[in-house]
Subunit: 99 residues, 2 copies
């Protein structure tokens, strides 16, 4: 499999209602524990908004070696079955275009 | 002014229609050029989605020394007048809570 010259960035903003922080984090940690064992995983950081009323209460920002590595990890049956997330998510892969 | 122990993260997902990339980037660069001269600015990275049909075509991720520094930069009349952005944005400040 070809690898990108530099990692791709997964950005995933989540809409999580008030009082659901603990439930969300528990589910996110379970998904993270699986994903970080997959080929091509580099790192991840879960961000929580300073204000509790932000539209996107949590945003996950992760690095993967390539789009293919991320897609393959997402496609694992073990992940799909174990990571049901009842909160609206907007995952997409990104590249840095300006600094 | 007190400073946070570590920087805060601004995450700003933008909805930008097809064929508006150039216009968006030109406006974003103008805003960046102003903001990076302001007290408390650390760095910024503009991310563009690999797929052109992502809900959020661009996501800006910046670091600021403190929430106060960011709010003060946003409140500058020169910024408010010069940075009209016709694309829906969702800016909020975040802290890293899990890795």
């Amino acid at each position: 499999m070809e690898r990108s010259v530099e990692p791709v960035t997964l950005i995933n903003p989540f809409e999580v209602p008030a009082n659901a922080d603990e439930d969300f984090i528990a589910r996110w940690e379970k998904a993270r524990d699986f994903l970080r064992e997959q080929p091509g995983y580099v790192e991840t950081r879960l961000h929580r908004s300073l204000r509790p009323d932000a539209r996107f209460r949590f945003v996950n920002i992760a690095l993967w070696d390539s789009p293919q590595a991320f897609q393959q990890a997402m496609a694992q049956p073990q992940f799909r079955e174990g990571s049901a997330m009842p909160y609206p998510a907007n995952p997409a892969l990104y590249a840095v275009v300006r600094r």
